[in-house]
Symmetry: C3
Subunit: 139 residues, 3 copies
């Protein structure tokens, strides 16, 4: 049993889904495991992880529209507003999605389904550099 780790950075420019499936696949390939698991871990509380359909771009547009309606920027409910109207909504959206996702490695490949992509979900308006730890374990 072996393990490998790597920290990658995803540059973001506003709210949206930023796919890093290819980076995760490359890392899995480099790790050289035929059976095992990959964990992706997001080191932030105003961005998160999500697995979503990667075929029709409208899915990403609709997902954003839903989260923005559910947790609107500038919601009068929030007290924590000093860092901007999009800060507390970003924390809530992160809580509603994932900080870590574990994907099995089967026959040397990530077990992502046909339509599944692995995304960083950016919730802040300003550009950010987001750090994700990839950890592969297996043999």
């Amino acid at each position: 049993m072996r393990q490998e780790q790597k920290e990658i950075t995803v540059m973001t420019s506003g709210p949206g889904l930023y796919e890093f499936s290819d980076a995760a696949r490359s890392f899995t390939h480099e790790a050289g495991l035929s059976m095992g698991q990959l964990t992706a871990y997001c080191r932030h509380t105003s961005a998160s992880l999500v697995i979503q359909e990667n075929a029709d771009p409208d899915v990403q547009r609709d997902l954003l529209a839903f989260f923005n309606r559910l947790v609107p920027d500038g919601d009068a409910l929030f007290v924590h507003t000093m860092e901007g109207p999009d800060d507390m909504p970003a924390h809530v959206k992160s809580a509603l999605t994932q900080t870590s996702i574990t994907i099995p490695i089967v026959r040397s490949a990530l077990a992502l389904g046909t339509w599944q992509g692995l995304y960083l979900f950016e919730h802040r308006r300003k550009p950010h550099a987001r750090n994700i730890v990839l950890h592969a374990l297996g043999e």
Copy 2:
């Protein structure tokens, strides 16, 4: 340290929770690990995983009612509608729940709490065959 993998299929017939705790327990037993972890991974973007109470069936009914109210089929917000009024809501419900869940194996058994069941959460109306990868790791 050893590991085992198995892909199981859950047949669904409309929105609802489909328990596969027994399949996960059987696989854990077959893997023969006294200490370790089990990861369940759902290979779809319109069905997901959730751990919920398995005692009163009303809990499942209420959970569905909540998600249907929060993300109604045919919501005018959505542009991605070609695959039906329940397609985009299915993606959103998947994002709001889990694609992967990791459960420790303690003294040869899954560490599920007394009232916890492991469920596939189907979000589409039509029947589907849903694939879940089980991955056990430990010794």
Copy 3:
């Protein structure tokens, strides 16, 4: 490759976020792994896990306010009410957050980001003793 497990108990006194980052760090330190992963697993269906900002206490206040507005106690939608008006909302809030979280261990430390804390999210009003299994794996 080695592994260690420990069950910890978090005492709660009403809805809120109860941080156990220090307990997770101590356990990781005791396990003595330089590279690996820590999984935290919550054995309940009316309390859950979440990673959130641990700097400004208002973030926790706002997060609670949001979840209480989204899933209000005594919601007329729910049938499962025998265990109290806060019971079914607790199950829903658990489904919307996490039951298990996996964090990489990098250079002998949890890869929590600068502002990330690891919390038990209590959803019930009455005091509870909540059991969390910690599982460290690596070398």
